[in-house]
């Protein structure tokens, strides 16, 4: 089965091609079923490969399958090859698994949309790109997938491109990602220069054995991190993610919660020896610091958001910050663990919000919702499970993964731990706020209905089965998902054992005494979570305390405006200067050469007088010269 690893990305690619060619003929909903089928088949193949890998010993769990030699140019030899090892198969499992669920969901959500088949085309293309990213054996295949997911993100965010805000958001995402991509490319250049290859195997091997100079390794690691910052929406490149909510909700769930944004984390974990072992030891601090700062920053903003999807968007940024905090603290298993559990509950929350939006006829403002639990029971129930998971309430999945991260954060530095803890408090607070505003309290959807431009009364209703089924599955996973890495003893730490061959040398060891403190920290975390929930309950349900939603946070620290001012003002001037340089000096040199040739030709052209006599005279002069040469040659001899 391992040899069929190429089938995993091939199936979504086939789905893309089929829907591309036959989409219009297939129509709704068959195009959707085709796409879903392809992704689900890819999931089955992945499970097959997973089982195959399980049957091998830990050392053997790394299989490279080369399709063909892709770029054999001089010293650069890059193959289109797939690497099937625990890390990549873990990623592939939840990409294809959650991907299939979201495909199914989309059939119901996109019902009636005139561009129905096009949506599934893009979705399948996205799954294909994401699988190339995680299964790539070398940086260039990963980069191929990286760019692919960026493109699909652009296509899907601006899916309803008739809306100006959607088109702008798509462009913003693409451009911001590009800045990150620059970092990735620079890292590739450095890698090639240092090692002559772009494959992960040799790279990690060299990092472990001291085959890379420390400064080079630091450069590679930090440049990869720049790429990750762009793709995974960390400070300072996070600003595309909130705007990306313009896209349809399944897109937000798949791309901007579960898969694409985790690509950055995946990249850092894949090259963990470079960051953890070979680079200067202050490099991981940068990663952890940015992760922690982003987590806190975004959590603060989420407290003041009124759009149901924007809350979840900032929440995603915040949770990704947690993952990078884990990477920086040397807790790679915890980062992957949180990635997996986050994928479950964040996708659940997004799909649930999509169900709410669908039922409320595209209303997204939480202030006009309320008491939806009665009208949409299943949506409400699953959403609440997601809420409990993200708030870190045991025994739901989120508690275990977040706790693992906090433990390693404490291990690295108490300050980081405090930041993480405060963020956990805020997470519990804003998610509780959201649940209360949407599902509890008074039904506000018909208040000021005419003012808000609604056409008559709004009648919220439960969503169809195709949309509810994925919600239920994801809710189940959010409940039991923690089981893959329970911290009780060696036997239950399944994920760690599974990922061992990939990250063991990079994983930071816990300081002595941390084992005991672990339970105290866990208790503190649970307590903090409950405090957050209670606080939100007091503010929004009981209304005993006034809500604190300052403008600063509602406008996301005016970050967007700041960036626009910077880019529009001094940024614009420097860009114009560079453009002037290019147009006048570089182009000028090229055009100038042309003009020079033209000028010289113009001068020489005057010699073509058309007069026979002049031509004869010149022939005569030539003859004289030739004779002179013969005569003086004789003289010289």
């Amino acid at each position: 089965m391992l040899d069929l690893v190429w089938l995993i990305p091939a199936l979504p690619l086939a789905g893309f091609l089929i829907v591309l060619l036959l989409g219009r003929k297939l129509g709704e909903p068959r195009a959707g079923y085709v796409a879903t089928l392809m992704t689900a088949s890819a999931f089955l193949v992945t499970v097959g490969v997973f089982i195959d890998l399980l049957s091998k010993t830990a050392e053997e769990r790394s299989h490279v399958h080369t399709l063909f030699s892709w770029i054999p140019v001089g010293n650069l030899k890059v193959d289109l090859a797939f690497l099937a090892d625990p890390l990549s198969i873990t990623m592939a499992l939840f990409v294809t698994g959650i991907g299939s669920l979201i495909h199914l969901y989309s059939i119901g959500y996109m019902h009636g949309d005139p561009k129905f088949s096009k949506f599934f085309l893009y979705l399948n293309l996205f799954v294909f790109s994401m699988l190339m990213l995680v299964l790539g054996e070398n940086m260039l295949v990963t980069f191929l997938g990286w760019e692919g997911v960026g493109t699909c993100s652009y296509l899907l965010i601006s899916f309803w491109h008739g809306r100006e805000s959607a088109a702008t958001a798509g462009k913003k995402a693409f451009v911001t990602n590009r800045v990150g991509d620059w970092g990735f490319m620079v890292a590739m250049f450095f890698t090639f220069q240092a090692l002559g290859t772009l494959s992960y195997g040799p790279l990690n091997e060299a990092a472990r054995n001291g085959g890379i100079a420390q400064s080079t390794a630091t450069m590679i690691a930090l440049m990869l991190f720049v790429g990750a910052v762009g793709k995974s929406a960390q400070l300072p490149l996070y600003l595309w993610l909130p705007d990306a909510m313009e896209g349809p909700t399944p897109v937000s769930a798949l791309i901007h919660a579960a898969t694409m944004v985790t690509a950055g984390v995946y990249l850092m974990v894949r090259t963990s020896p470079v960051l953890a072992i070979a680079a200067w030891h202050w490099a991981p601090w940068i990663v952890a610091g940015i992760g922690a700062a982003t987590a806190l920053y975004a959590a603060l903003v989420a407290v003041a958001q009124n759009d149901i999807k924007k809350v979840l968007a900032y929440s995603t940024v915040s949770q990704l910050g947690y993952m990078f905090l884990a990477v920086g603290s040397g807790a790679y298993v915890a980062a992957i663990f949180h990635m997996v559990t986050h994928a479950f509950f964040k996708a659940l929350l997004f799909l649930g919000s999509g169900s709410v939006i669908h039922g409320m006829n595209s209303e997204q403002d939480m202030r006009r919702m309320g008491a939806l639990r009665k009208v949409m029971p299943i949506t409400g129930f699953t959403f609440i499970i997601g809420w409990l998971a993200i708030a870190g309430v045991p025994p739901f999945a989120g508690f275990w993964s977040k706790d693992e991260i906090l433990l390693f954060a404490w291990n690295k530095s108490p300050i980081l731990w405090v930041v993480g803890l405060v963020t956990a408090l805020l997470t519990a607070y804003y998610m509780t706020r959201q649940v209360i505003m949407v599902f509890y309290g008074k039904a506000r959807w018909n208040d000021h209905a005419e003012e808000n431009g609604a056409h008559g009364d709004v009648h919220p209703h439960e969503s169809p089965v195709t949309m509810l089924l994925p919600l239920v599955v994801l809710a189940g996973l959010s409940i039991v998902g923690g089981a893959i890495q329970l911290p009780f003893s060696g036997g239950t730490k399944r994920l760690e054992k599974w990922l061992e061959p990939v990250i063991e040398t990079a994983e930071s060891p816990l300081k002595t005494g941390s084992e005991d403190i672990k339970w105290i920290l866990a208790g503190v975390a649970v307590a903090i979570g409950l405090i957050g929930i209670t606080a939100a309950y007091m503010v929004y349900s009981k209304k005993k305390v006034k809500a604190i939603e300052p403008n600063l946070l509602a406008n996301a620290w005016y970050y967007d405006k700041g960036v626009s001012a910077l880019m529009g003002g001094p940024g614009r001037k420097s860009f114009d200067a560079v453009a002037w340089f290019d147009a006048h000096i570089i182009d000028g040199a090229v055009n100038g050469t042309g003009k020079l040739v033209q000028g010289v030709a113009g001068i020489v052209r005057k010699g073509q007088s058309g007069l026979v006599r002049t031509y004869a005279a010149l022939i005569g002069v030539g003859a004289v010269v030739v004779i002179a040469w013969f005569v003086f040659r004789g003289v010289a001899q």
Binding site: R605, Q608, S609, G610, L611, V612, R613, A616, A617, G620
Partner: protein, 106 residues
């Protein structure tokens, strides 16, 4: 008659022919009337003939004279064709000079 001081050697003939050739070349370049230019070309041909005859005598080879024979024949044919061309051009433009036929001007 007075006694010859020196007898003209082959060299004198050859130098004279060279001078005649040079004069013919200058004439071609300086004159604008097509017919006069043609006449100057005849001068050059005559210089060549003179060279051949002088060398035939010096080297004792009759082949030089045969060559002159052929040169004359071909020169005659050439004059016929050349004058035919000049006639067909000057029939259209009676006052044309060599400078007026400048179609190749770039």
């Amino acid at each position: 008659m007075h006694l010859a001081i020196a007898s003209p050697t082959t060299t004198w003939y050859l130098v004279l022919a060279a001078l005649l050739f040079a004069l013919g070349a200058v004439g071609v370049l300086v004159r604008r009337n097509p017919l006069v230019m043609f006449m100057c070309i005849e001068l050059m041909l005559n210089a060549v003939n003179l060279t051949f005859v002088a060398l035939a005598r010096k080297l004792g080879d009759i082949g030089g004279q045969t060559t002159v024979f052929f040169v004359m024949v071909v020169a005659a044919a050439e004059v016929v064709v050349g004058l035919g061309i000049i006639v067909s051009i000057l029939r259209r433009r009676p006052s044309a000079t060599a400078d007026d036929i400048a179609e190749l001007k770039g």
